[in-house]
């Protein structure tokens, strides 16, 4: 479908984005807020924003996604949205009864200058927030950053507005989850348990967006980091932020507010990033790595060794969110593959810096771009000029994969046409194993498909 419309010649575009590799802040804020127990996200803007975000998250997770909206009209847009938000807070507590309302702004409410901090303070002063209930907020204008920025802003809001420092330290480590799947968050908790480290993971969308079928529809599923846990993060020994773009800002906020020291790590995708995570967590928790985890690692290395001949030199194009793309690029290099074209719509210099560190020595010719102009149209043009053996990215990549007849692995957000992402982790050694399996399956299926009759083999 895109084939006919994507030109091979790459031209500098002045203002136009074609087929974006990102979306806007509020959806990230909505996703992060769902990782807090008993929380109803609230979109302060027009109904459409809330509807689009809920629909997209629903399509990705195939779960009900609840969120309220300020339902802006022309009046609110002229006179400001304070009255709408105050009314909304009252309505929400009386009807939907959440423990927390997590408000995020939109391009509309930002531009008219609504001050969420002032409005939520007024709501408290006016007695609209019942005892023991909370309203938190994050500023998420759609014309800055991307959905990843919105996620980071809401996670920062969660840290800032809940953490309390009581003066007495608790024997626990905060793990701040960058934008990852419920399955990944579940795996982080499992690994920490196996290591024997007490952690508070936030946000945590496991058991929220992968809930079992029960015959009832609950507004607030059992998962999510609780208020008590969030408050206790101020007394933790230290924080590990998994992802410099989506998680680090919250760690910085915690350090500022409650003097909790932090370390920023890559999301533990692939071998080395998982090594770093396991080592950092064992150090932070002062525990030794159990044999079972070492054995998991050994299994992953063994599989890579078994299959290295099929991985060597395979050219990969990938696109997605920076905190995932960075460790994935490193993993692909460790698999002896060649990530040759990389695009991330999310702007920011951290991406470029980290990519340079990874690529400069091992694959200096790799093309990568993020921010303005880093869209999927550009990636497609690159692929046309220098063909690849594999494409990795979210569902929208299927058009390019079809057009160019390239094997395709779905990875990232959103995935609208497959399941698995929310049930099977991509992080940790088992996540690495899953990625290797997917990569090999895609490549070997292709080899089988294209093999000449006499070269079609049983054993591979």
């Amino acid at each position: 479908m895109l084939l006919r419309h994507t030109t091979k010649e790459v031209k500098e575009r002045e203002g136009l984005t074609i087929n974006p590799a990102k979306t806007c802040q509020p959806i990230g804020a909505m996703y992060a807020a769902l990782g807090v127990h008993g929380c109803l996200p609230h979109s302060h803007g027009s109904q459409g924003c809330c509807s689009y975000h809920r629909s997209t998250l629903t399509r990705h997770y195939k779960e009900p996604v609840m969120a309220a909206t300020s339902s802006f009209t022309e009046g609110a847009s002229v006179f400001g949205g304070q009255a709408n938000l105050l009314a909304a807070i009252e309505t929400i507590f009386s009807v939907y009864d959440p423990d927390i309302i997590a408000v995020h702004s939109t391009c509309l409410s930002e531009t008219i200058g609504d001050d969420l901090q002032q409005i939520t303070r007024k709501a408290r002063d006016d007695g609209k927030i019942p005892e023991g209930k909370h309203v938190i907020f994050a500023s998420t204008p759609s014309f800055i950053g991307s959905h990843v920025t919105g996620y980071a802003n809401m996670v920062t809001g969660i840290a800032e507005q809940f953490a309390v420092s009581t003066g007495s330290k608790k024997n626990q480590i905060n793990i701040i989850a960058g934008w990852m799947e419920p399955s990944d968050m579940r795996e982080i908790k499992r690994l920490s348990k196996e290591l024997g480290v007490n952690i508070v993971l936030f946000p945590d969308t496991s058991d929220v967006l992968d809930a079992p079928q029960t015959g009832t529809h609950v507004f607030y599923p059992k998962g999510g980091t609780t208020i008590a846990e969030l408050q206790s993060t101020g007394d933790s020994l230290s924080s590990l932020a998994l992802g410099s773009i989506s998680a680090e800002p919250a760690a910085i906020a915690l350090e500022k507010k409650c003097k909790v020291p932090f370390e920023t790590l890559d999301m533990p995708i692939g071998l080395r990033a998982t090594d770093r995570f396991i080592m950092a967590l064992s150090k932070a928790g002062n525990v030794t790595v159990p044999d079972e985890i070492t054995a998991d690692r050994g299994r992953l290395v063994d599989v890579i060794a078994d299959m290295e001949q099929y991985l060597y030199g395979k050219r990969v194009a990938l696109f997605g969110d920076p905190d995932q793309i960075i460790p994935l690029t490193e993993f692909l290099l460790d698999l002896n593959m060649k990530p040759v074209q990389i695009v991330s719509g999310t702007p920011g210099q951290r991406f470029e810096k980290q990519m340079r560190q990874i690529l400069d020595e091992r694959s200096p010719e790799t093309k990568f771009k993020n921010g303005i102009g880093a869209d999927m149209f550009l990636l497609h043009q690159w692929m046309k000029n220098e063909p690849v053996d594999l494409l990795i990215g979210n569902t929208y990549g299927k058009y390019m994969a079809r057009d160019e007849d390239v094997p395709f692995i779905r990875f990232g957000f959103p995935i609208l046409d497959r399941i698995g992402h929310s049930y099977f982790p991509s992080v940790g050694y088992s996540g690495g194993l899953r990625l290797v399996e997917k990569i090999l399956t895609a490549i070997l299926d292709r080899q089988d498909r294209d093999a000449l009759e006499e070269k079609f083999e049983l054993v591979m």
Partner: protein, 453 residues
């Protein structure tokens, strides 16, 4: 209805049919309460869904990236030719653009795009923020149109300026600017435009064929599998046949006023309404009795094929109950009839954008005890479904997982449907989908309807 907790301020938007008591009209066409978990969207959404299927135009969303990203190829409106509509073009407004204005960026984007793709026209959607910062998109469009020689049409669809319906109007307004600019030479007297049919899963093709079998010329389809040249000559048709009344009635009225083309409302869902649509169109050409003959022929041929097929579904589904919550209320009328024809009754009927007439008619049609709702939310929907013991929910993307969590079947009758549900073949597909979901073996393993197995 004390036993059902309803959002304060929404009591008038919910109605339960009970014998003999004449109650006042249901409240509707209001904006949602601030703080509600509404299933509704915005003005931009309305414009985008109506114009989206015009396949040989470029559609550029002027605003921050989200509005373009969320509407990128989500609606399976297929094209038999060009597919420019499926790409996502955006000006991706940044903070500096918001401060200094985005007109220049829009202008440059349009020039780049038109030069590259040579489209037949361009639609420019203004989003919330463009309305606020006051970009003069009309002026930009005019300038680009003059420089490139193609129609460049502003679509004023600022999200906050009303409801989805206002977006439909903005889209119709843009279409009206195209209509009348093409030649009507060679158009037959026995001709129609198909309005409010968006070719989801290829439905417009099915409908078009029925009309062609009747000897009727279809001048344009608005906007399923749409082409700019066809839209331009739409005023040459003798009759406008409107299906999705919410989105296209305003265009039909404008065309009636300006070009004297009468219009009728039809529905292509279910045997009864599909047949009536063909007869109603034939009735418009009384001096050509052969058209009515052909219509009868089409109906009899199709029903003969379909009827026996439906019986096996009916046998399994008789006595099962359905809940309907869809966008437009007009669709619910057809759905009620279609469900009855496969033995099912309707216990909940609701829509996002119905008007007073729609709801009055719904009240007449529905069985005793049926709940009728306007602009509902997930709490209400799941409560009604449990109370009324529905076995099936018909809705859209956000309703699907709710139905499955409740352990009941689901049928998408919104833009995520994968198979055509319109026409006679569509009735078969609909019955099959309902049957397959309601009778799925998965429900043996799952707690159902609140936990009772």
């Amino acid at each position: 209805m004390e036993h059902i907790g309803i959002l304060e301020g929404r009591e008038k938007q919910v109605f339960e049919k009970k014998g003999g008591i004449e109650t006042s009209d249901i409240a509707c066409e209001t904006s949602s309460l601030s703080g509600s978990v509404s299933q509704r969207a915005c003005v931009f959404c309305g414009s985008r869904v109506v114009l989206y299927p015009v396949a040989d135009a470029i559609h550029i969303v002027h605003g921050p990236i989200g509005c373009a990203a969320y509407t990128w190829d989500i609606r399976g409106a297929v094209s038999s030719g060009p597919e420019l509509h499926r790409l996502s073009f955006s000006t991706d407004l940044q903070e500096m653009d918001v401060i200094y204005g985005g007109e220049k960026k829009l202008y440059l984007s349009l020039i780049e795009l038109i030069e590259q793709y040579k489209p037949k026209a361009a639609f420019i959607y203004s989003t919330c923020i463009v309305g606020l910062i006051g970009d003069d998109i009309d002026a930009v469009c005019k300038k680009v149109a003059a420089e490139t020689g193609i129609p460049v049409l502003p679509v004023h669809s600022e999200g906050f300026k009303g409801t989805k319906k206002d977006g439909y109007k903005a889209a119709c307004f843009a279409l009206m600017k195209l209509i009348g600019t093409g030649s009507t030479e060679g158009i037959s007297k026995q001709s129609i435009n198909i309005l409010g049919e968006f070719n989801l899963a290829g439905e417009a093709w099915i409908i078009r064929k029925y009309y062609e079998r009747m000897g009727i010329e279809v001048v344009s389809t608005l906007t399923g599998d749409g082409r700019i040249d066809a839209v331009k000559r739409a005023h040459g048709a003798s009759l406008n046949v409107v299906q999705c009344s919410g989105s296209m009635t305003s265009l039909a009225k404008d065309m009636e006023e300006k070009y004297g083309i009468p219009y009728i409302r039809v529905s292509y869902f279910g045997i009864e309404d599909m047949s009536k649509s063909l007869y109603d169109v034939a009735l418009h050409f009384p001096e050509h009795p052969e058209i009515m003959e052909a219509a009868k022929q089409v109906v009899s041929e199709e029903v003969k094929k379909l009827y026996p097929e439906l019986q096996k579904f009916k046998k399994a589904l008789t006595g099962k109950k359905a809940a309907i919550y869809v966008g437009g209320a007009f669709k619910t009328f057809s759905l009620i009839k279609a469900l009855r024809s496969i033995g099912m009754s309707v216990v909940l009927a609701g829509s996002q954008t119905g008007n007073k007439d729609d709801y009055r008619r719904l009240k007449e049609m529905c069985d005793e005890g049926t709940v009728i709702v306007d602009d509902s939310n997930p709490v209400e929907l799941s409560k009604f479904i449990l109370e009324k013991e529905a076995d099936l929910l018909i809705g859209g993307v956000k309703e699907r997982p709710i139905a499955f969590k409740l352990g009941i079947g689901f049928c998408d009758h919104n833009h995520e449907r994968k198979i055509p549900l319109a026409g006679f073949v569509g009735m078969y597909n609909f019955a099959l989908e309902v049957y397959q979901s309601v009778m799925s073996p998965v429900w043996q393993f799952a707690p159902r309807k609140g936990g009772n197995r």
